[in-house]
Structures are given as structure tokens and as C-alpha cells.
Subunit: 141 residues, 3 copies
């Protein structure tokens, strides 16, 4: 049994960006030398979400439309904005509902994902950030 942890850093630019990080996570699994076990992927930023999606422009637009039903980007709507003058209230709500981590099974050295299932990192902060951390832990043998 072995464990391999790593901090990845993503430069997300202006924010409100959803990125496919499947390749980055696969690389960490490869480095670990672990064949059977799990890989946990966790956002290290409060307005970040880790989940899966078919990463194509249609699904990305559909996801944003669905999230906008209950947590639109509309700063005056949020009590968080009124109290702190932050414009990321929708990001906090989306993170709490969607979750900040996902754990995948690894078998024969591969993450158990199908072709239309990418690991995405959603940065729902509209401000420019130099970088956002995502933490990865591979465990198994």
C-alpha cells in the first residue's frame, strides 16, 4: 500500500472558467505507480468545484444555464455581496451544492472513466486570480 499526494496549480485567468483537468490527474496517477485504489481530487479554493462532465461546448452551456436557475451570477441577489462586497456569492452556493471533491476508482493503473466523462475544475469566481490550487491523493497498491 502506498500514498502519493500532490498540489496542482491552475492559472484560470479571468475566472468563471470550467477546465478539463483529466490529463493532469492522470499524470499524477501515473507518477504514483499505483495500479489499484483511488484518486481523490479536491479544490483548494472555496469557490471551486470538482466534478465530471462531457467536456464539449453544448454541455458547458447547459450546465451554466441549469446553475443559473438557482445560483445565477447576479451579485445584488446575494447576502454575501451585501456583507462583504464580494461578487462571488454564486460561487459559494454552487460549491456547497456541487461539492469540492470527487474520488475515482483506479484499476490496472487507469482512472475508471469512460470516453464522455471528463474531470472538471470549475472556478466560479469572476475576479482575476494568479492561481488556484487543486489537491490530488492517489492511494492503493
Amino acid at each position: 500500500m502506498a500514498v502519493h499526494t500532490k498540489k496542482l496549480t491552475f492559472h484560470m485567468g479571468q475566472g468563471n472558467v470550467v477546465r478539463d483537468i483529466t490529463g493532469d490527474v492522470r499524470e499524477v496517477v501515473g507518477e504514483s505507480g499505483i495500479s489499484n485504489g483511488t484518486v481523490t481530487v479536491q479544490s483548494g479554493v472555496s469557490i471551486g468545484v470538482i466534478t465530471t462532465l462531457e467536456y464539449e461546448p453544448g454541455c458547458l452551456a447547459d450546465l451554466e444555464k441549469a446553475l443559473s436557475v438557482f445560483a445565477p451570477f447576479d451579485p445584488p441577489r446575494y447576502e454575501h455581496t451585501r456583507r462583504w462586497h464580494d461578487e462571488n456569492g454564486h460561487g459559494h452556493v454552487r460549491n456547497a451544492i456541487m461539492g469540492s471533491s470527487e474520488t475515482f476508482v483506479v484499476m490496472n493503473g487507469e482512472i475508471c472513466l469512460e470516453t464522455w466523462q471528463q474531470i472538471i475544475f470549475c472556478d466560479y469566481c469572476p475576479n482575476v486570480h494568479p492561481h488556484h490550487p487543486v489537491f490530488v491523493c492517489v492511494m492503493g497498491e
Copy 2:
């Protein structure tokens, strides 16, 4: 410390089906011989969701009603449908928001769930599929 991974296969029929898979996951925990640790359950299909619910017809109807507020089964609503002629746009959105995995704690050989808390596998694809994979990993000692 030990690790036990397994691929389960479920025949979901016509799709848009929510199944109670608690017994199947319990069986894998039993096979593993692990008494204390975790069990990770992960959908191996992009429109599949792993989560928990009190598995009774009322809660199943209530969950579908809630999901229909932001991601109804309504193919013309989705950009994914327009681009790919797939009718599973709602499934991709539900997966991204609800998540494709859940990890449970195992103590004294039992998954730490109460009576009204079942592990469910939701297949939100309306098409007939021969089978859908769910991956399970038990880790601990």
C-alpha cells in the same frame, strides 16, 4: 492495510432509472475482508450519479420533481441535443451537479449508513443500454 477493487455491471433497461445498490456494495465490502476504512462507489458512465436517498416511491418522485426545476427531461432545451442529437442533456447536467461518486466510512465491517439511507445509482439516460458499470474500491484494514 489492503485494497479491493471491483467493477459491477447493472442492466438498467430503458434508462431514467434509479436503483438501490446498497446490497451490491455491501457484498463487495464483505468480500474484501476489510473491517475499518472506506468504500468508494463511482459511476463509470457520464450520465450516471451515485448518491444516497431513502429508497421509497415518495422520495423518488420528489427527487425527480426537484431535478426537473433546473434540469428537466426536455431535449430541445439543451445545447447538447442541438449539437449532437443526443437526448441525454439533462443527464449530463444532473451528473455534474449531483456528482459521480460517494465515499462511505466502514467500521466493524459495516458501511456506516442508517435504515433510511440507501446508496442509489441513477441512470439519467433515456436510451436502452445493455449495461452500465459502477466501480467500487474498499480500502483499510
Copy 3:
């Protein structure tokens, strides 16, 4: 490699309460003596949710408002209420969508969370309960 499991018990009072349990989870990580690995936090009650949020009154109000769009506290709305006379239909739906567990990465003995990212336990049952269990598993080396 080591594993450390623990059952925490929270007295939630009247219910419909969201509590910051970051300190409690940190304590379990400290007890474990594990420096690198993961910590899984899982609700042991069907209407409980484990997720993250910036724990301040604005975000708490915003989260409740967003959840009320698709799963308001409104017992007559739920089929679960009609069948079982329970008033927790919204809690079951919220649990299924938000998830009952979250797994975090541990590095150098610390959970990889930033300042504005707390681990929360949401009890969406409106009834008085003597206690609610949350299960924690720290694994690694």
C-alpha cells in the same frame, strides 16, 4: 500506511441547522498521526449533508435561498410527506443532490482547505433529534 475511523456525534437541537465542523474533523486528523493521505467525512443520517462553505451568515442565507428554489421547506409539496407524514421531504432531496460525504486531501498533517472554506454538516430535518452521527476516516501515512 494506517487507518483511523471515528464516529462523531452532534447535538443539533431543533434541526434545519448548518454547523461548521472543521475543528472537529481537524481534531480527528490530529489524533490519527497521519501526515499524508485523505480524510473522508460522511453523514450517518439520511437528511444530513457534508459539504464546504464560507461559514458566515451571508453565505448561509444565500445557500438556503438557492436550495429553496428546487427543494423548499414546504411539507405539502412532497410525496414523501403524503405517504409517511414526515416533514423532511426537502431534506431527503437536498441530501440526494448535495451528497452525504466529502473527501479531503491531507498534506503535512493539515487538511488542504483555505481560510474561506469550512467543512459543514447540514441537518435538514425540522424535528428535534437527540443527536446525529458523522463518520470520519483518515487514511495514509
